[in-house]
Homo-oligomer: 461 residues x 2
């Protein structure tokens, strides 16, 4: 009963979890702790050079929650570990997610400490799902954020996702395709992702294509023959300039058949210098319609430099460094219990303090429609003039609406990104976007802290 | 017909590929290019601070090749893109991998430029599989290498994989569990990985467990009641020292029932200082049998410092930074055509030159049994005294033997790692292990370069 898009082998969604989710759950069951719990998913600090996050991953979370189960095989495995009691295993066999989810929709921007997702469910159900939820939202938000930085740096030039071969696994490849499309990439090289998500696939030829022919020229001709409408010639296998002249020759041959060479692709060397030389060769040959695509080692920092210097590159293929978010390959996203059985809770571990209670985030705009400030509040507060960001997307274990359409998510991102001041988008050391805490939440935090300290921390330290 | 362990949704292994593998294949088909091709998978340069790689990922490659197919749904999707010809789509419908694979077995150490895998198959089959093969071997070797660094730094103390929540996706979580076990980790928190790979699962409780109870003490007691034989108490939710005193109290209560507290876990703060204080409290309380586990933000650099300073930590839980190989989240692993239809080939792109021809790697040892030097040679060479590293693991599309047993792979790693001089294992700026090229390969490279330049590069640049 695995949902078709869920990236797990064997169909056992329940088992994709940390062992401690299961051992804790057994102890909860034994203690009869079945009351409702709320967990908040949020990121404590910004990775280097980040001042915003792009929400992504919620669709997989909802698919997962809708299909959560432990198969007979899973129960047999757990029994064989010798760790679990029979009554707990029987409980697990019937477990489904029956709770509710409030979340910031995919495509929206959010900031540190703001809950991207809040889960409210019977304690065990809310606990069991932690591992998968962090794994997916952390990855997808991180990749969408990285992609947004690339799109911003490219200043309107198109970008294709070429990352699949170097992402950290197959799941990451699919998620990179989707997340980068949300943030404005135009296409992906990954055919499975294109088919699953309804995105445009992109790609033409590798060096092996060239070298499998006796000469580059023969390879170019063979490709143009197969794809007269969508030929992009890779010109750097032996020498970029000679390759460009071969491409010119083939483009002229195509013209005599009424066809047009679409582009040439640079994949190594100094892109700034080479793109100017290649552009001149193409233009001098009357091929001003042939575009230049560059790929290989590109990230937002490289894109910014090339674009600022005016390198005549029309399209970028972005791979490895974006696909692993190389300059910030992880974030400290956490999933923390904030309320149990009506009692707001928090932890006090050094540098890991959490805010108690179920929450809402209110976004305010200035008179020009630009984001002014966010306020993190309690979920039952109403802040006049603020737009509440968290929406109820699941209730009693069922989605409250149809799955989000990818194009809508992409539009939502564009809308939000346009309303974020440019100073928060700069690639290096952006300032922090102002996020405040409501008076009520501040008071609750102080109260809970005092109570928790009184019960759990002796004065004798 | 997806193999149960393959990490892909929808069962369409064929579609997990870059679009250009398919467009090139159509052009190959049109040109009647069906002769055998050999592709080499190798890494050009070391990521920062690396001087060796641990082979991992081959099992998934062989599973994938054994099950490669394009379903009716996949063909329908490809037809709908409008990119492909009917005859090519019919060809794809019947395509299977019928070639052979020679590879360095999982667990073995290898070095830059050495082919970890060589695929020989009809050109299209060998081309189509590129994306998946790079994706998996790159990821798994990278994670196994990162884990080997952690194991080396821990100097015999146990390490558990706690990375699942922060790996880049679900596939990476499973592969991290397996790769880190190959390199000597003792267990994983990921229950699905433990069940798929037959590894020990590990884990006990999160902060949410503590905070869902009215007090830490009650939480500790509830856990000990459920798991008297395997209780590890997380002591930092509110204050590590107070938490330790609560753990002592529960340990004493357990003793009166004839039970023993297994360990306490530190998850924040200064591990060096806290572990000494906690050790003293435990020892002064007659609890010298209670172990100390530390987790949170650890990587090989932190482990080395803690171990060198003698922090009394018995076990480490290693997560995020190892699970994404944070200091080196990608490598430039490439899959290059080296021979087609009996003709050795190479590319000359700047910084991306490849060595032509199918290859073998010979490893020589010194009189003490330690690795002395590797020689990359042609596959038909025989270097007396050298151990050939690449073994034939698939022939005519069938595995030549049963799947590798994980324990055997783990043993193979230990054997190889013990034979690598310590100077190559240091965490910062290790020297390069000596890798040479045989005379025959050197001559072939010079010949092919000259021929390729003559055909493809004009003098007029």
């Amino acid at each position: 009963m695995t949902a078709p898009n869920l990236p797990l082998p064997g169909g056992d969604l329940g088992l994709f979890t940390d062992l401690y989710e299961l051992t804790m759950s057994q102890a909860f069951l034994r203690q009869g702790m079945s009351a409702a719990a709320t967990f908040s998913l949020f990121t404590r600090t910004y990775p280097p050079n980040r001042a915003y996050f792009v929400s992504a991953g919620l669709e997989d979370v909802l698919d997962y929650l809708s299909n959560l189960n432990f198969s007979g095989r899973a129960i047999d495995y757990l029994r064989a570990t010798g760790i679990f009691s029979d009554d707990f295993l029987e409980y697990l066999r019937g477990v489904r997610f029956t709770g509710s989810v409030r979340a910031i929709p995919e495509g929206r921007l959010y900031f540190t400490d703001e809950p991207a997702v809040e889960i409210t469910a019977p304690l065990i159900e809310a606990q069991l799902v932690e591992t998968f939820i962090i794994n997916q939202v952390n990855l997808q938000s991180m990749l969408a954020t990285k992609a947004a930085r690339c799109v911003w740096a490219a200043q309107g030039r198109g970008i294709a996702d070429f990352a699949s071969r170097r992402t950290q696994g197959t799941d990451a490849a699919l998620k990179m395709a989707r997340a980068s499309y949300i943030a404005g990439f135009s296409s992906t090289s990954n055919v499975l992702a294109a088919s699953l998500y309804g995105m445009p696939p992109a790609g033409t030829m590798a060096h092996s294509f060239i070298s499998s022919f006796p000469s580059e020229l023969e390879a170019f001709r063979a490709y143009a023959e197969s794809f007269p409408d969508r030929t992009v010639l890779l010109v750097d296998t032996y020498d970029t300039i000679t390759g460009t002249w071969n491409a010119v020759r083939v483009a002229k041959e195509m013209e005599t058949d009424g066809q047009k060479l679409m582009a040439v692709r640079l994949d190594s060397g100094d892109f700034d210098e080479l793109s100017r030389k290649v552009r001149k060769i193409l233009d001098d040959s009357g091929l001003d319609y042939v575009k230049i695509l560059a790929s290989g080692g590109l990230d937002e920092y490289e894109l910014e430099t090339l674009v600022k210097n005016g390198a005549p590159i029309d399209l970028f293929g972005v791979g490895t460094k974006a696909g692993v978010s190389a300059d910030a390959p992880w974030s400290d996203m956490a999933y923390k219990l904030v309320c149990f059985d009506g009692r707001p809770v928090m932890k006090l571990s050094p540098d890991k303090v959490s805010l108690p209670g179920a929450k809402q985030v209110f976004r305010t705009k200035d008179s020009g429609g630009m984001f002014a400030k966010d306020i993190i509040a309690l979920d039952n507060e109403d802040l006049p003039g603020g737009l509440p960001l968290l929406e109820e997307v699941m209730k009693d274990g069922k989605r409250t609406g149809p799955p989000a359409k990818l194009e809508e998510v992409r539009n939502r991102f564009q809308e939000d990104f346009a309303a974020l001041d440019e100073r928060f988008k700069v690639l290096n050391n952006p300032p922090r976007f102002p996020v405040g805490i409501s008076g009520k939440l501040e008071r609750l935090t102080a109260e809970v802290r005092e109570e928790v300290l009184g019960i759990n921390v002796s004065d004798s330290d």
